[in-house]
């Protein structure tokens, strides 16, 4: 039986999101209509951009997912020192400011990068150019594949031990094992993940411009940014709707294909059981992991090395420390907001799924990821129009940034926790119903106790994701709330390029330590 009470948390969270986004968009429409600035144009160039945006996003998604599955499978097949750390640190590529991603990728694949240097040492002519479609794809895979991989790895590991043992008895080959046991679990994750990555790539902006090699490859987001700058607000709002529509259509399609009908009984056993792996397969896995690891970490390691090289204590200024502090406060605040909204939504979502209400559950998940499809400039302008009376208040700006960053992190929290939370709720459903455990008690006794480490990890992840700042700051005034990425751009714009690498290193180290400390699992045995 579905009770209204169990719907309430999710519905209130979802409506909060809808109200924020909707009122921002409506504020822009209203302002544009009032000011009589009603230039709208949907020329062939816009249509061309929509197609290019769609095309590159689709390719990026497919590539990211394929490599993520490959790497996750390889990781699940062999055991080695430092594996936990590797998986923990992987998603870090997600949070880097565009500028750092570009710098990192260029120090590896650029004309004077590590790769070019190696080729020179080995007397191989280096003719690889990172610019163009392949640059965009490279950057998008670099950004998205590690996150997907970390999540898929967890999924692969959640195959119940009984099934593993049975498979070993039946002498399953690795392929059969994957097909019969792992694939059904993985399938639940792949399509939602595809939707998420697609959206991120669809609205990608600075990276696409920097590595795209010219306006031949640009995204709709660029056109929206341009419209906001030209003050064609109606056009901006219109394009934002086009973008939203494209993303919603894609997600809808994914949800249509993705039928999450089957129920799983996942056991929570601490002992691990591993199927024997053939030696030749181990070699291949090792190879895949080394390539993947190098792909993820070499750009960051080059940044770290440069940062240490350029480091001087004189760079530790008061402004830098202040930026660091602001970054941490905002990161924790946003993670808190994201976690709260996420748990409210998932609470309802689990109960919807238990009652076989897949349509409604899909809807709920869709609403929660809307924010990724709305261009930040449009959201910022809309929120500004609504709230500019408060724009001089530092605390208020802080809260607003937290809210926006929290909303951005929300879809990721949902991705991380939706399935585990559903599984655990379903597992204890009969028991909790009969014992009349409800509300906060249910959350504490079942959800929190069962998924503590997963929740902490998601929290850390959301915090790291929010270390970067959001476009909102551009219109609300910057100097009062200067975060680390903001400080970094300031340094570059004053020609302090080397110092900016040090700031990037600090940002990286901060994210590293957040992920390691928060994810430190005290109960684990290794």
């Amino acid at each position: 039986m579905l009770k209204f009470k169990s719907l309430l948390p999710g519905i209130s969270a979802a409506s909060l999101i809808l109200i924020i986004l909707g009122s921002a968009l409506i504020a822009i429409w209203r302002f544009a209509l009032q000011s009589g600035n009603v230039a709208i144009y949907l020329d062939s160039y816009v249509l061309h951009i929509v197609w290019i945006t769609f095309y590159q996003a689709l390719l990026s998604t497919i590539l990211s997912l394929t490599s993520a599955i490959l790497m996750a499978k390889a990781l699940s097949l062999i055991e080695f020192k430092g594996k936990r750390l590797l998986i923990k640190l992987m998603p870090i590529t997600f949070i880097l400011p565009a500028l750092v991603v570009v710098t990192g990728l260029l120090s590896v694949y650029g004309q004077q990068g590590v790769l070019a240097y190696l080729c020179q040492l080995l007397h191989i002519p280096f003719s690889f150019s990172i610019y163009g479609l392949k640059g965009i794809l490279l950057a998008h895979v670099f950004l998205n594949f590690p996150y997907a991989c970390a999540l898929f790895y967890q999924t692969l590991n959640s195959v119940p031990i009984e099934q593993r043992q049975l498979a070993a008895q039946l002498n399953f080959s690795t392929f059969t094992f994957f097909k019969l046991l792992e694939w059904p679990l993985l399938r639940r994750q792949i399509l939602p993940m595809a939707a998420l990555i697609f959206m991120l790539c669809f609205s990608s902006f600075a990276i696409v411009l920097a590595l795209g090699g010219g306006p031949k490859y640009t995204t709709l987001e660029v056109a929206i940014y341009q419209a906001v700058r030209d003050f064609d607000l109606l056009q901006a709002a219109l394009l934002a709707c086009v973008q939203l529509l494209c993303c919603v259509a894609f997600i809808g399609l994914m949800q249509k294909i993705n039928k999450t009908g089957t129920k799983f009984s996942v056991t929570f056993s601490d002992t691990n059981y591993r199927l024997p792996t053939a030696n030749w397969l181990k070699v291949i896995c090792m190879f895949v992991i080394i390539i993947g690891g190098l792909f993820i970490f070499s750009p960051m390691i080059t940044i770290l090395i440069q940062g240490i090289f350029f480091f001087r204590t004189s760079l530790l200024t008061f402004m830098l420390l202040q930026a660091l502090l602001f970054s941490i406060v905002i990161a924790f605040g946003s993670a808190m907001i994201a976690m709260l909204l996420g748990l409210l939504l998932l609470w309802t979502n689990s109960r919807l799924l238990i009652n076989q209400q897949h349509q409604l559950s899909n809807c709920l998940m869709l609403i929660a990821s809307f924010i990724l499809a709305i261009p930040s400039m449009v959201l910022a302008s809309g929120l500004f129009l609504l709230l500019f009376g408060y724009s001089n208040n530092t605390v208020f700006i802080c809260l607003l940034i937290m809210l926006c960053n929290g909303l951005i992190a929300l879809p990721f929290i949902l991705k991380n926790l939706a399935m585990p939370l559903y599984d655990i709720t379903a597992r204890y459903w009969q028991l909790t119903q009969s014992l009349n455990i409800k509300g906060v008690a249910h959350f504490y006794l079942v959800d929190f106790k069962g998924l503590k480490s997963k929740m902490l990890m998601s929290f850390a992840f959301a915090a790291v994701l929010s270390l970067g700042d959001f476009g909102v700051i551009a219109l609300f005034g910057g100097q009062s709330v200067a975060t680390l990425p903001y400080y970094l751009y300031q340094q570059i714009s004053h020609y302090h390029y080397q110092e900016s690498i040090v700031t990037a290193t600090i940002l990286l180290l901060l994210s590293f330590s957040l992920l390691v400390v928060m994810d430190y699992d005290r109960t684990s045995k290794n």
Partner: protein
């Protein structure tokens, strides 16, 4: 959680306190771009200097770049707090005029202007020229004209900024139009052959150039000054072109909704004093608008012989069409 609340409340009470402390003094609010008030920008010194003489409180609100500043005031309309807008340039000026946001500043044109530019609504405070920067170790024989760069027999690799998203990019668009006129589309196609990439903003482009991704990057002819002053690095130079260089003038103006017009005018006058002008030269790395004593590094860079620009009205009229022309020329 407690820590966060505590911190926020401390910040909040501090800001409240500072507002109370200045309650009896009149406040002048200036809207400007981010880098004006940053650690390395001229803002802090200017603020202190002006407050020492005006018996007032100067509040500087900084927002993204010049376009963000203008758009914010447009969004605020007559409810704006801004008294002075500082940081628009000659290419944005007509948009600001058409939005009808300003009143004439009524400051007489000084005799010792460094460049011939004056306007009734906007007062210039510094200027510079767009130019391509190269590393003298890598490019031994730099181009001497825009035509040479466009024809590109040497195969120089170029990075520039997107005119849709950045000021220097827009500057190059006008520069090309000024030199090539109706043939600009062909010239752009020619440029596209040797373009490494077109970035969102100046920071990305310049960072990529410093990483060695290109031979020439679009920036300002004063960029080498920054390298000399910051790290005593003499490896970077601006390529000086025979056709001349497109000029960027940074301007400030008085918002018509201001309640403190006299104070605002006093502030604009203050911007023209030698000590402030030197601040702009040193920290904005631009030429001061009036003849004044500037850092030595300026004497060590290549100077521009001829300046080019379009009239603001022409820009307003054609900008969108020219951007579309660029877009379609290089998307082919």
């Amino acid at each position: 959680m407690f820590c966060k609340n505590f911190l926020l409340s401390v910040i909040f009470s501090l800001s409240l306190f500072s507002q109370l402390a200045n309650a009896e003094l009149p406040t002048l609010t200036v809207y400007s771009y981010n880098s004006f008030m940053s650690q390395w920008g001229p803002g802090e010194v200017i603020k202190k200097g002006f407050e020492a003489q005006c018996n007032c409180h100067l509040d500087v609100v900084t927002l993204g770049d010049g376009v963000s500043v203008l758009n914010r005031i447009r969004l605020e309309g007559d409810k704006t707090n801004a008294d002075v807008i500082l940081g628009l340039d000659n290419n944005l000026l007509e948009q600001a005029k058409q939005a009808n946001l300003l009143i004439p500043h009524q400051i007489a044109k000084p005799d010792n202007l460094n460049t011939n530019w004056w306007d009734d609504s906007f007062m210039p405070y510094d200027f510079g020229y767009f130019a391509f920067i190269y590393n003298i170790d890598k490019v031994k024989n730099p181009p001497h004209s825009l035509h040479e760069l466009v024809d590109n027999k040497a195969g120089w690799k170029i990075i520039y900024q997107d005119p849709r998203t950045s000021t220097p990019g827009l500057g190059l668009l006008f520069w090309m139009k000024k030199v090539y006129g109706d043939n600009a589309a062909d010239a752009w196609q020619q440029v596209a052959k040797n373009t490494v990439t077109v970035t969102k903003g100046w920071s990305e482009a310049y960072g990529m150039f410093l990483k060695g991704e290109a031979d020439l990057v679009l920036s300002y002819n004063t960029s080498p000054v920054a390298h000399i002053m910051n790290e005593n690095d003499h490896h970077y130079q601006a390529a000086i072109f025979d056709e001349g260089h497109y000029r960027q003038v940074e301007v400030a103006g008085i918002i018509k909704y201001s309640q403190e017009i006299d104070l605002a005018r006093q502030f604009l006058r203050y911007l023209l004093t030698p000590e402030v002008q030197r601040q702009f030269a040193e920290k904005n790395v631009m030429y001061p608008i009036i003849k004044t004593d500037i850092p030595n590094a300026f004497a060590q860079i290549n100077s521009v012989n001829k300046s080019l620009d379009f009239k603001p009205e022409e820009i307003e009229k054609h900008q969108k069409a020219w951007i579309r022309e660029w877009q379609s020329a290089i998307s082919k």
